[in-house]
């Protein structure tokens, strides 16, 4: 029952123009048809001649048929086009049969309404005598086919034809038809019934397809609405300003543009709070068009080609920086998505200024440092050249005095001269050390492949040659190779090995080792000895120039060697570490990180 109610609701409710037309047409037909039957049959009373009556009745029937045919033609015209139907069928949504009347109800309706009409016919038969009144049955046939299509229409036609033949067409209570005009009318009834059923079936199908199509359209519209809502939300709430505008061109030159729409963020982004829609760019931002002809040119290019563009621009008129992304939705129109990037630009500017300032300062400092280095250079040069000469004179003439007049020198005089020579030699060593130290911080670093193992072996051999009386065992791990300045690294190794050699002097079984050590990601090269070691509490003084942890009479030295070694390792980007305890030997380790890390220096 629910489905029936639904069907009628769909049939009579709703407000589509199509439905309204159907209702008007059917009810109009009902009224017109009924009136026709009533008045035309009344007209027949005026004729007494039976043949004239028959002819009139035939003409009346033909007129009626013509009229209904005209109405049906009208109904055809509103059937949707066949190609549309196919398309709508192809993509039709799932079947909506639940809204259609069950078939048996349509058939039952057809039979009952026909029988009802037959009963009405029988009731009024008294006054109409033997006239068959076939026209009465068009109503049940049309109603049935309207309701259920061809099948119920056919059922109504068949039952009406049979019933009327049997009950209303003489001879009564027989299926025979005596009068030819009765047979003709009867046949016309069947033909009209079949035609009406067929047409209504077509109408049915068309309506169903139209419904499906409408449902699909509704679904598509719903989707479109959702999509529209989404984009509307985006448009209204996005942080970028969006303008839709039409370019105004005079001749070939873009002169202005007219705003079609703007989203709310446009006001925030530009600071233009009054409505811009319908106004022109030249009114909204006076002077823009005159000052930025190339921007207008770009706008018009995008509007012509449809190829989007983006750029950043400072608008003097608004004192703001903007980024513009230009798109063209239609020829001659642009959509401008804009963003206020003033803060970002100011920050960039500040960074740029800071960088420039920093660069200048770095240049200045570098110049100062270069000057200081050059000063140091000339100082070292002076030391090497000018300080040595008087020193050589002191020691030289003392020596010459001893050589030439040694025999005539008495006691202490000779000893004093020897002290002068020792002092001069000591000073000479200090000058040498200072020179090496200063040289280690100057000049270019060369990039050589250095076999430290081989270098250590050679240096120890030299030391052994210098003091053949010493018995020193050395263990050198082979193939310890690094990259660095060979001459400078030799100074490092020489200093460290000299120290190891010197501080193991009192050991009977002196041992000097050169070995690698890996700490984390760092590869260290280590020189270890079993010599006098050092007081670890003063280890921080080890690398300071002229600082010594041993007295001269214990172990002589200048206190410059380790400072020099450390400076060289630092220049290579590495570190020099010292480990040791008093009388327990010392180990010095250094690393040379990958050369690329310090390449900038040179």
């Amino acid at each position: 029952m629910n489905r029936v109610r639904l069907f009628f609701r769909r049939l009579f409710m709703g407000s589509s123009a199509r439905k309204r037309f159907i209702l008007w047409a059917t009810s109009g037909y009902l009224i017109f048809g009924s009136a026709w039957i009533f008045f035309s049959d009344r007209l027949l009373l005026a004729f007494t001649d039976i043949y004239a009556l028959a002819r009139l009745s035939t003409a009346k029937g033909i007129a009626f048929i013509s009229l209904t045919t005209l109405l049906l033609l009208l109904a055809f015209c509103i059937i949707p086009d066949r190609t549309d139907q196919r398309e709508s069928l192809r993509s039709a949504p799932p079947c909506r049969s639940s809204e259609h009347l069950p078939r048996w109800i349509a058939y039952a309706f057809a039979l009952s309404v026909t029988l009802a009409m037959l009963w009405v016919r029988m009731q009024i038969a008294v006054s109409f005598d033997t006239r068959s009144l076939l026209i009465l049955f068009m109503l049940p046939i049309i109603l049935s086919s309207v309701l259920g299509g061809f099948g119920p229409g056919l059922a109504a036609t068949a039952s009406a034809a049979l019933g009327i033949n049997y009950f209303a067409i003489p001879p009564l209570h027989s299926l025979q038809i005596e009068q030819p005009h009765d047979l003709f009318q009867w046949c016309m009834l069947i033909a009209t019934g079949l035609l009406a059923s067929y047409l209504n079936e077509r109408l049915h199908r068309a309506r169903k397809q139209a419904e499906d199509r409408q449902a699909m359209q509704e679904a598509a519209q719903e989707k479109l609405r959702a999509s529209e809502a989404k984009f509307r939300y985006l448009y209204e709430n996005m942080l970028n300003g969006v303008i839709h505008a039409r370019m105004i061109i005079q001749g070939d030159t873009p002169v202005d543009m007219e705003y079609i729409s703007a989203n709310p963020a446009f006001a925030t982004v530009t600071g233009i709070t009054e409505s811009v829609v319908g106004r022109r760019l030249s009114e909204v931002i006076p002077g823009y068009c005159e000052n930025n002809p190339e921007s207008l040119q770009t706008f018009v290019q995008v509007a012509a080609t449809g190829i989007p563009r983006r750029w950043e621009q400072y608008l003097r008129e608004l004192d703001r920086w903007f980024s513009f992304s230009i798109y063209s939705p239609a020829h001659g129109e642009v959509i401008i998505v804009t963003e206020n990037i003033t803060d970002q630009k100011r920050a960039e500017e500040e960074i740029f200024l800071l960088n420039t300032d920093l660069e200048q300062r770095v240049e200045q400092r570098t110049a100062e440092l270069t000057a200081a280095n050059q000063e140091l250079d000339s100082f070292a040069y002076a030391v090497s050249h000018d300080l040595r000469a008087p020193l050589r004179a002191m020691s030289g003439f003392s020596q010459a005095l001893i050589e030439d007049y040694g025999e005539s020198l008495q006691g202490e005089a000779r000893m004093f001269l020897e002290q002068i020579i020792i002092g001069s030699r000591k000073m000479g060593e200090l000058i040498e050390g200072l020179l090496t130290l200063s040289r280690s911080t100057r000049g270019r670093l060369h990039r050589d492949r250095v076999d430290l193992s081989e270098m250590a072996r050679r240096l120890l051999a030299e030391l052994a040659q210098g003091q053949p009386e010493r018995r020193v065992e050395w263990r050198i791990e082979p193939d310890l190779v690094t990259e660095g300045d060979a001459a400078m690294l030799e100074v490092v190794l020489r200093n460290l090995l000299d120290n190891a050699w010197k501080y193991t002097a009192r050991r009977e079984k002196a041992l000097i080792r050169f070995f690698p050590r890996i700490e984390g990601l760092q590869h260290f090269f280590c020189i270890g000895d079993n010599g006098a070691g050092f007081d670890a509490t003063h280890a921080n003084k080890l690398f300071q120039p002229f600082q010594r942890l041993h007295r001269q009479e214990e172990f002589p030295g200048t206190g410059i060697g380790l400072a020099t070694a450390q400076r060289i390792i630092h220049r290579h980007g590495g570190t020099l570490l010292a480990e040791g305890q008093r009388e327990q030997g010392a180990t010095f380790c250094f690393n040379i990180p990958s050369y690329s890390a310090i390449k900038r220096e040179s």
């Binding site: 040069y381 050249h385 040595r388 020691s395 030289g396 020596q399 010459a400 000479g428």
Partner: protein, 146 residues
């Protein structure tokens, strides 16, 4: 060693004395000329300025040239020596206190035949100078025999 002589260009009188003493000990002292700055050295070699009267002179067999000199530096003197046809092949030994790589490289670039650092130690110094004198006067064959 007649005809063979050494030109010593040395501005430091003490070094000069020590060098002369060492050469004397090596028995080569009788043929040493000494000038005390770069300009003098150039004048001496080319017979100009205060040495104009020595128009016909023998060129020294070897020049011992200091680098740090007043007026013209040792390197400038060396350049002039090499630039002149007469002295272009004359053996020049740089004898200097400097052991700067820069000086050494420049000296060889300018065409020095040898670069010797004055040792600080007196005996080493004396030995070096004596060996130098003997080598260049006795052992070495000069490019143009007198």
């Amino acid at each position: 060693m007649k005809n063979k002589s050494i030109l010593l260009v040395e501005d430091n009188p003490q070094d000069e004395m020590l060098i002369l003493r060492a050469l004397k000990k090596a028995n080569v002292a009788n043929c040493i000329e000494v000038v005390r700055d770069g300009q003098q050295a150039v004048d001496f070699l080319f017979g100009q300025g205060e040495f104009q009267d020595r128009a016909n002179f023998d060129l020294p067999t070897v020049i011992l040239l200091d680098i740090g000199l007043p007026r013209l530096s040792g390197l400038e003197v060396l350049e002039r020596i090499r630039a002149d046809q007469r002295t272009g092949l004359l053996p020049v030994v740089m004898l200097t206190s400097s052991d700067e790589e820069r000086d050494r490289l420049q000296s060889y670039e300018c065409g020095a035949n040898s670069f010797v650092r004055k040792p600080l130690d007196f005996s080493e110094f004396a030995e070096t100078v004596a060996r130098l004198g003997l080598y260049w006067l006795a052992t070495n064959e000069p490019p143009c025999k007198p």
